[in-house]
């Protein structure tokens, strides 16, 4: 039998992630979502297919997930981030019982059973203070790069407690601390503690159980990882590329849906709109 080609597209508020599976070979793409995210996902998939001398029609199935999942015209089906993250983590780190995903605009915790199925989840998308946005705002206000925050925070000797929860008030508090001559590293240590505490207390509502896997862009921040491990009292696991778990899960689910349809002899439900519909976005 010919190898199945499937794609998973995860459009987050900040980053767009695409995974194309051709049999066991996997190609991945990550780029900023930006305002033109609809075009971007389309272009990324098109380029990837072109490189392999393939076209959209060669894709057996496309699953879209993430915040922007409704805006992928070439997707056959939309599946929630919760299901896709769980599926991705199950394949990458089968011992995981809890997934903590901290993205650019929200955070969530997912509880998995021994088979890797979702048994519970909790989510915060109401408040910037529990998301990567918190770090972005602070980095911008301190004139630092987002990528350097974590390392810098580890150099703090005494974490300065940030008493404000709200990002807007915390930003002001941080500026005040710096103006008072406090060490930048100590202030950053306090900030990382603050974000980790907030996500930890949300995740604790579904009773955290090891192994805990950290995913999403913020999982790349070593300061958050260390702060989270201090809260948990044990180490967290990290996928090879924490940004990709949702897209990997989406591609796996796409493949499983195709196989199941073939097995049952049922035609696969396809919601793909014609490519002309995609041009609307260009």
């Amino acid at each position: 039998m010919e190898e199945l080609i499937v794609a998973g597209v995860d459009i987050g508020s900040t980053m767009t992630k695409v995974v194309i599976r051709n049999g066991r070979t996997m190609s991945t793409f990550i780029g900023p979502t930006g305002a033109e995210y609809r075009t971007l996902a389309h272009k990324v998939v098109e380029d990837a297919l072109n490189q392999a001398s393939l076209g959209f029609d060669d894709l057996a199935y496309v699953v879209a997930t993430g915040y922007g999942r409704m805006s992928v015209p070439f997707a056959d089906q939309q599946i929630t981030e919760i299901s896709c993250h769980a599926r991705g983590v199950r394949s990458l780190l089968p011992t995981a019982r809890t997934v903590i995903d901290i993205g650019g605009q929200d955070s969530k915790a997912i509880k998995l059973n021994e088979q890797g199925r979702v048994i519970n989840f909790v989510m915060n998308d109401k408040c910037a203070a529990g998301s990567g946005r918190f770090l972005e705002v602070i980095a911008e206000s301190l004139g630092l790069k987002l990528e350097e925050l974590g390392e810098l925070s580890l150099k703090g000797d005494t974490a300065i407690k940030i008493s404000s929860i709200c990002t807007v008030f915390a930003e002001q508090e941080v500026v005040g601390h710096i103006a008072d001559g406090r060490r930048l590293e100590d202030v950053l240590a306090g900030l990382h503690d603050s974000l980790a505490s907030r996500v930890y207390s949300m995740a604790e509502r579904i009773k955290l159980e090891p192994d805990v896997v950290l995913t999403g862009g913020v999982a790349k921040n070593i300061g958050i990882r260390k702060a989270m491990e201090r809260k948990l009292g044990y180490q967290v696991l990290l996928p090879p590329e924490p940004l990709l778990t949702g897209a990997i899960g989406a591609a796996l689910l796409a493949k499983e849906l195709v196989l199941k349809a073939i097995e049952q002899g049922q035609p696969l439900k396809k919601e793909r709109r014609p490519l002309e519909a995609a041009r609307f976005f260009e």
Partner: protein, 265 residues
């Protein structure tokens, strides 16, 4: 004549009110910046010079507000809740509920017929429930904070926000502008969002009319109208809503002097 002063050292503005025998002589509002001590001095000196008085004419000073502890001259303290209810009672004896929208917190106070606070609820955790929300959006739109009330009344089609977080709303405002929404429509949306948060606090406290609205937020006619619409009532708004806590502080200063005098009697 007995002169007293009340100072409200708030997150965004510092306010001073001078009373002479219980009547308002002068008031002054200055930006708090981050130097609260200096702001308190400027506010007091400004009010004193308007009243043509010197600092040693004052028989008592009562301070309140977030930064009351930073005030660098001798003073007594009173809570914001008691200052606001005292100030509102002086102007509106019929008021039984007060909404105060400040730079970093908003609160709802229930009071009795004597102007004593019975209970209160405060939101100081979230910028989207305070005047700070207005500042954040005004900055994005590059409009003056004092102009947003009038501007918002010119809205043709309100832009509703899908988020209740000030940070997310800021990005949403930028997106809406790029999509062609007008400043007026965005401001109307912000007023609507903030008014919803305030109204839910009022409803949790159970509204007893009459209801007054004070604090810097009450200077914003667009916000006042939105809150009125949400609650389905008319609000009592003082001419200078921003100085009500300072007025209450000064009244409390006067009251304390009078009762100390009576005891010595």
């Amino acid at each position: 004549m007995v002169y007293v002063a009340g100072i409200d050292a708030g997150a965004a503005f510092t306010k001073a009110v001078i009373l002479g025998d219980d009547a308002v002589l002068a008031s002054q509002v200055v930006l708090s910046t981050s130097n609260y001590a200096q702001a308190a001095i400027s506010a007091l000196e400004g009010a004193l010079s308007k009243a043509k008085l010197e600092r040693d004419c004052l028989a008592g000073v009562v301070t309140t507000g977030l930064a009351a502890g930073r005030v660098p001259f001798p003073n007594e303290r009173a809570t914001e809740t008691s200052c606001i209810s005292t100030g509102v009672h002086r102007l509106f004896p019929s008021a039984r509920t007060v909404i105060d929208v400040g730079g970093q917190a908003s609160r709802v106070i229930k009071m009795d017929e004597a102007g004593r606070a019975l209970s209160f609820m405060i939101n100081e955790k979230c910028a989207a429930g305070s005047g700070r929300f207005l500042q954040v959006i005004a900055r994005v739109l590059q409009v003056n904070l004092d102009d947003i009330g009038e501007l918002s009344l010119g809205s043709k089609r309100r832009t509703d926000f899908s988020t209740s977080c000030a940070v997310f709303a800021e990005s949403e405002a930028i997106t809406r502008i790029a999509e062609g929404a007008s400043k007026e429509d965005i401001l109307a949306g912000v007023h609507h969002a903030l008014a919803s948060k305030i109204a839910s606090m009022v409803e949790a406290m159970r509204l007893t009319p009459d209801c007054a609205m004070v604090g810097g937020g009450a200077k914003d006619i667009g916000l006042v109208r939105s809150v009125e619409e949400k609650l389905g009532i008319s609000l009592l708004v003082p001419e200078e809503p921003q100085v009500i806590a300072a007025l209450g502080a000064a009244l409390i200063a006067g009251g304390r002097l009078a009762s100390a005098g009576a005891k010595q009697g």
